[in-house]
Assembly symmetry: C2
Homo-oligomer: 435 residues x 2
């Protein structure tokens, strides 16, 4: 095998910006995307923001010969927007919807309605089980005052936990999507440090695309320039990450992005640039020959770095908890207001002397009663909604604490084992009977 | 190693019925449960319906020396009710909240408010990674007209998918909890067939407990006899399931249940009976000697049986989809009613001739407007709520379809490979390069 050429794999990722009737030139752009995918014949195409099932079905129909295997992940009110098109057989699919994903009353943002999630498809590829993840995290609407930061950190944590715990038997792991985070943002560092996934942009032997790998650029016809301030040149928020396994290692040979315009077309595919990664799969015995690193997380990321990034994330979660408790207190005030109104109404009904002037008719009482009900209902719903958020934040913090403690033990064990020349892994202890 | 005694492991599971101010003798029963756990020193205790965090903290405090490692899973509005107490170190925890879990307006049932979920803790046990799952599924309120059946099937599917995909690297797998299903119910068969988990009740070498392993019995002081009809003697809805790995096999040496009353105590621990399983862990090379079966799912459950049970589940999901579409249509009618009322109001406001008699004052319009708002708001919320249910049901059906197709291929491949004397596993194909 060592003399054979490594198997090659092409992965594509694009946020399609497919909001029917709102995104510009939506139907034409889906035509262009279908044409591109059909022509380029990537092994796997990971799409985000395919909000309408009709558009998914249009793509499925157009790509029935180039990509006969598909899965469209359904969650939330309007869907997750996530779709996978594969040349290879999809064996299984699994969806994890993020527990925290904005607020339903923020209609102008709308993230809540698209049940943001991470989808996993297990693809039979070259006789290997490839675990392919596609995701889309909550958007960042203001970098200076990012009220959704705790939400994105919870999502990053759930994403890394999901990948860590479901990728154990994988021959290789690929994660693609719109993470809505800059390369060095906390959530991104958290994901990379705790999954051992490597960024194709930094790992690629050759790169052809926008400056610094940007996927939101000023040169894109659809980009609102004010959304990029203060990063006039652009930002990189879409990624393809990858790692191998004990059996096979993955090397990114090249990465390319679209550059805002498309030859012979009046506009780009989307308001995001697409990514195409070419990966080489190398059997483990050939690794040294091809200069590929070992891909185990514990080997690639120092434990101390993993601990630092968890500590940083825990601080954000704690802040998010305070923030949500304030919101819950406000919902409580709304309920209080409703109850006061109810008391006033009861007083008016049972103490007619209060309305001696006859200004308060039966219908006035009824009107006030209805207003009171609306206030009480909204207050109660918001209170329950924030109660679930508090539970999620506390659960995430507890899980992070467990991980911190485990890493701490691993670190101490590492120091001890180093002095006794062991391999430093807690998992390699012998199976033993305790008395 | 073959001559060594196998390691022993004791697992406990109890639905604690811990609804503060509603469950009878709640505080006294928690005292009794703490006493029992402290005395019995099980390796792992899996508790359900620990609805109040205060009660969890009470147990945590009482069991700080017998079970120093704990995790309390937080989800939904009031929590998942799931708690784990362990003698051994908990290394990591992960929670998967079920996507479908009843209706918030069914206040008398209340399942929706407790975010039903499956919790996973990874426990370092005898140098092995034990993946320990605790769960609680939606209750069955009427066996004859079970409107929650599709919800419980979705939960069973999500549970088995979660277990299958997160237990790959496990040294052994234990699942305990209140599944709210009889042993031969569809969801139960689905879980067993697709995870390879084995029921401790049927596997136990010795059993000491209620007839037929019942965990809800007429002899329990707290049981409402009408809840058992037509199963007067009792039903078995609480389980401990287990399986080993390539490294170690698990054998259930004994299973016991409580029997309704507790010696020297005025009442039982709960309205459910508790389960205690004693498991023996046998290193794989010792299997033949101890007569333990191989635990790989594909070896224990025939593919055709796996396919049959998925087909049955798909039929239930499809029925659930129709049921939910009817509910969504009703929500749409509510919105329609609200809009008609709004039209009437607008007509009254802009066509004063309609209220020529002066019977319709400004406050009457206001009152009707408020009612109209309540109707519209409720209709819209219910519509969105059922829209998410439809998405979940469709996603589950799609996943089941993928699994069916994969099993079909496996079956065909099996027949081919049998004729060519291969091992019949799709995963064991060589890693090969495609042109």
């Amino acid at each position: 095998m060592a003399t054979e050429r490594p198997a090659k794999l092409r992965v594509f990722s694009l946020n399609c910006w497919g909001i029917r009737f709102l995104s510009q030139c939506c139907a034409q752009r889906y035509e262009m995307i279908a044409e591109l995918l059909d022509r380029e014949q990537h092994d796997v195409a990971l799409l985000q923001e395919v909000w309408s099932e009709k558009d998914f079905l249009f793509l499925k129909n157009k790509l029935s010969s180039s990509h006969p295997h598909t899965h469209y992940f359904k969650s939330g009110v309007i869907g997750s927007g996530l779709a996978v098109f594969s040349k290879h057989r999809i064996q299984d699919a699994l969806l994890y919807q993020y527990s925290l994903n904005g607020y339903p009353y923020m209609l102008c943002h709308g993230d809540w309605f698209g049940g943001k999630a991470v989808g996993l498809v297990i693809v039979d590829m070259f006789g290997l089980k490839a675990h392919v993840y596609v995701t889309h995290l909550h958007a960042e609407y203001s970098r200076a005052r990012d009220e959704y930061l705790p939400h994105r950190i919870v999502q990053s944590w759930e994403l890394l936990q999901f990948v860590r715990h479901t990728s154990c038997g994988a021959g290789m792991v690929i994660l693609g999507g719109d993470l809505n985070m800059h390369p060095q943002d906390l959530g991104n560092r958290l994901i990379r440090a705790h999954t051992g996934l490597r960024d194709c942009y930094t790992e690629a032997a050759t790169f052809d695309g926008c400056e610094d790998g940007h996927t939101l650029i000023a040169d894109n016809h659809f980009t609102k320039k004010q959304d990029l301030v203060p990063f006039e040149k652009g930002i990189r928020i879409d990624y393809i990450l990858m790692k191998g396994s004990k059996r096979v290692n993955v090397k990114c040979e090249s990465l390319s992005t679209t550059k805002g315009s498309v030859a012979d077309k009046p506009f780009p595919y989307s308001d995001h640039e697409s990514l195409t990664a070419e990966l080489a799969l190398i059997q483990s015995e050939d690794n040294r020959q091809h200069g590929v690193r070992n891909t185990e997380c514990s080997d690639t990321v120092p434990v101390s770095e993993q601990m630092d990034v968890v500590s940083e994330a825990r601080a954000v979660i704690k802040e998010g908890l305070c923030q949500t408790e304030v919101l819950q207190a406000k919902a409580m005030c709304l309920i209080g207001g409703g109850l006061l109104l109810l008391l006033l109404l009861l007083a008016m009904a049972f103490l007619p002397c209060l309305c001696s002037g006859g200004h308060f008719s039966f219908t006035t009482v009824g009107f006030l009663g209805a207003v009171c009900m609306i206030v009480l209902l909204s207050g109660a719903l918001l209170y329950l909604f924030f109660a679930t958020h508090i539970k999620v934040l506390k659960e995430t913090e507890d899980q992070m604490k467990l991980t911190s403690n485990y890493l701490q033990t691993k670190l101490s064990w590492h120091s001890v084992s180093e002095s006794s020349s062991s391999d430093g892994s807690l998992e390699h202890q012998p199976f033993k009977r305790e008395e």
